[in-house]
């Protein structure tokens, strides 16, 4: 263990240098550490850094990928109304879906936490189902529920005398529908994260709060919520990234329609880049997500870091 740490240099008399430079190098802790992390570094280089740089390179080519055109693709996008619609819809989709997921997850976690531990497992398992089913499959089921001719929702609505709703046929309803499905799919993730956080709050804090005079609501506000803030921040950040970059739900449910009103960055990039054959433009669309998310991530993680340093 003690060989060659920086604080305890090996006595030269006890360990005369034998062998070549390679052997000495391998004895140094920093070398060993580097070698041990090398697989991960290679993985990140291959799967994150290379695709990112390649996308950057692609986004600066012309449509036929024969000529370097600098920022032209980006300025072209900024001048198009459809693109601004996509930005608006992406933000609306991600922010409202994440807020709803966070809220529903919070409530579900509390309800689960309050259940006696016997019944808890069963309910936890059932509530996790939406998150466990591959979204491509579950979205197909939703699509069927929304279908103009066979919609089960409309059938139920008609049963109580309400006019059928054009779930996927009208901009407003279509936006609502994709958000609804995303919330249905993503809430269990929040629930399970919050449940873990709730279970890690020591009971004695609640007992102390009860004696200090806190009501149920005050315990939630002054004990539970502050103790969960880091988990909430990280979960929201993570979910925002995933929701912002969502592809499958929108692609299957509306394919961006009607009239491109439900397109988000990923589906729009797919349509422009793959379906319309302008790969450089598609790459530029997808790259717009990066600065937006990076700014949010930096602020969130800074807050998380500060709080975890202050608290135990």
């Amino acid at each position: 263990m003690s060989q060659g740490t920086l604080s305890v240099p090996a006595a030269p008399a006890a360990a005369p240098p034998r062998g070549g430079a390679l052997k000495r190098l391998s004895r140094r802790n920093s070398t060993v550490a580097f070698l041990l992390t090398l697989p991960l570094i290679l993985l990140i280089l291959g799967l994150v850094v290379y695709p990112f740089l390649y996308a950057l390179y692609l986004s600066m080519l012309n449509k036929r990928m024969t000529r370097f055109i600098g920022w032209e693709n980006f300025t072209f996008l900024l001048g198009r109304e459809t693109f601004w619609n996509v930005v608006f819809q992406s933000v609306l989709f991600a922010v409202s879906a994440v807020l709803l997921k966070a809220l529903i997850g919070f409530v579900l976690a509390h309800v689960l936490h309050a259940l006696p531990s016997k019944g808890q497992r069963k309910w936890r398992g059932m509530l996790l189902v939406p998150w466990v089913i591959p979204p491509a499959i579950s979205t197909l089921a939703w699509w069927w529920l929304f279908d103009p001719s066979y919609s089960a929702f409309n059938w139920a609505l008609m049963g109580i005398g309400v006019d059928p709703v054009p779930w996927l046929g009208q901009a407003g309803w279509a936006r609502f529908s994709v958000i609804l499905v995303n919330v249905w799919y993503g809430s269990p993730f929040f629930m399970i994260m919050y449940l873990a956080a709730l279970k890690s709050v020591p009971d004695q804090l609640y007992e102390a709060a009860a004696i200090d005079g806190a009501s149920g609501w005050q315990k939630l506000r002054y004990v539970t919520f502050p103790m969960m803030r880091n988990i909430i921040s990280i979960t929201v950040l993570f979910s925002l990234i995933v929701t912002f970059a969502n592809f499958d739900i929108v692609r299957i449910l509306t394919n961006g329609g009607p009239q491109d009103t439900t397109h988000v960055f990923a589906t729009y990039a797919f349509q422009v880049g793959i379906q319309s054959g302008d790969i450089p433009l598609g790459a530029s669309v997808s790259l717009f997500m990066f600065p937006l998310l990076a700014v949010f991530a930096i602020f969130t993680l800074r807050g998380v870091n500060k709080r975890s340093k202050e608290m135990a």
Binding site: Q204, L205, E207, A208, A210, I211, G213
Partner: protein, 366 residues
């Protein structure tokens, strides 16, 4: 007025296990009462029932004459100090102490005045802006006490508050707690498993065992007049020695006859008390401090004996000697200058005026 009254209080769990088996206790206003006993004796459960953190299965608890069985903790006007301090990690020391007052909608100036005052009593004024993570164990303990003091409640409840501190700090905080109580004079119920803590802090000690109260009394009373074998063995360290034997009349006096033909005379002033027990099997109890090196043998109630120590433990101010006597493992306390050494016969004296005679069946002190 904040006396605490427990009447036939029972705590039963599902499956019929009883943690507390119907205890009665009266705690006077301003009194400092310590509940002491081994793990699982029901002392913490009793405290938590007073606090309202555990439901009372049967019986009645009253604070200040008002039955509080169905009153939630926040309306009982109590403050509690927990073993793990239970400070809110996201709040500063000031906010931790002010939290209870804030929830009760005290005016800001009043909160500040009270927190500053408590911080001064506890000597934590420079820490008020820190978060609990930046405090040592002793400082956290002070903050936890501060949180209780600012509330100015009817009753303080302490649940093993010193168990998480190291030995030196524990002694220091013990004095601190006593000092605080002498200043604020609030009725206090304190739970500990440490009999030294109990003896040093309490006006009255309540010894609990197996869900019942064995004995209630002042520290001196418990030490000199234990009522049961459990109390006799629990209070005092090292523990009291017990040797089975017989009381008999011989040579015109009452004597304790122990195995190996060891015979110890009962002092004259105790003869009347034990006379009717003559001929019965008894348990002879004697504390280590009453088994000393040979001294005072001219006095009538000191009986001579010889012991051969197997182990000696020098403590500085005294030396503990462990030896076999009448087939039992016995501990005595001798002067550090006495010639006590393993294997060397040592003349000793038994202070018979401090002996105890117990009924071996019931464990009661006779």
């Amino acid at each position: 007025m904040a006396q605490v009254t427990l009447r036939k209080v029972v705590k039963a769990y599902e499956g019929g296990v009883q943690a507390v088996k119907g205890i009665d206790l009266d705690i006077a206003d301003h009194e400092f009462v310590v509940l002491v006993g081994p793990s699982g004796c029901g002392k913490s459960t009793t405290l938590r029932m007073i606090a309202g953190l555990e439901e009372i299965s049967d019986g009645e608890i009253a604070i200040g004459g008002k039955v509080i069985n169905d009153v939630p903790p926040r309306d009982r006007d109590i403050a509690m100090v927990f073993q793990n301090y239970a400070l809110y990690p996201h709040m500063t020391v000031f906010d931790n102490m002010a939290f209870g007052l804030m929830l009760r909608k005290f005016p800001k100036e009043e909160i500040k005045r009270r927190v500053d005052n408590a911080a001064r009593i506890l000597d934590i004024t420079p820490l008020l802006e820190r978060k609990p993570k930046a405090l040592s164990g002793g400082q956290r303990q002070r903050v936890a006490m501060g949180r209780a003091i600012v509330r100015d409640p009817k009753v303080f409840l302490f649940d093993e508050p010193l168990s998480n501190l190291d030995a030196k700090l524990r002694v220091q905080m013990r004095t601190e707690i006593k000092k605080v109580h002498q200043t604020v004079r609030t009725t206090t119920v304190y739970v500990t498993h440490d009999q030294v803590e109990a003896m040093t802090l309490a006006d009255r000690v309540v010894v609990m065992n197996g869900g019942i109260i064995e004995q209630v009394g002042s520290p001196q009373e418990l030490y000199h007049n234990p009522k049961t074998r459990f109390v006799a063995g629990f209070i005092g360290s090292p523990a009291m020695n017990f040797i089975p034997g017989r009381l008999e009349n011989g040579a015109g006096a009452l004597r304790v006859h122990l195995p190996n033909d060891i015979v110890l005379p009962v002092p004259a002033e105790r003869t009347a008390r034990y006379q009717n027990l003559a001929g019965r099997e008894i348990l002879f109890g004697i504390r280590p401090e009453h088994l000393t090196e040979a001294k005072n043998l001219d006095r009538p109630h000191f009986a001579p004996m010889t012991a051969t120590p197997e182990v000696t433990e020098p403590m500085g101010m005294e030396t503990l000697v462990h030896f076999k006597m009448a087939g039992a493992e016995i501990c005595g306390r001798v002067d550090p200058l006495a010639p006590a050494a393993p294997g060397q016969p040592l003349p000793m004296a038994v202070d018979m005026s401090n002996m105890h005679i117990l009924d071996p069946q019931s464990g009661r002190v006779l």
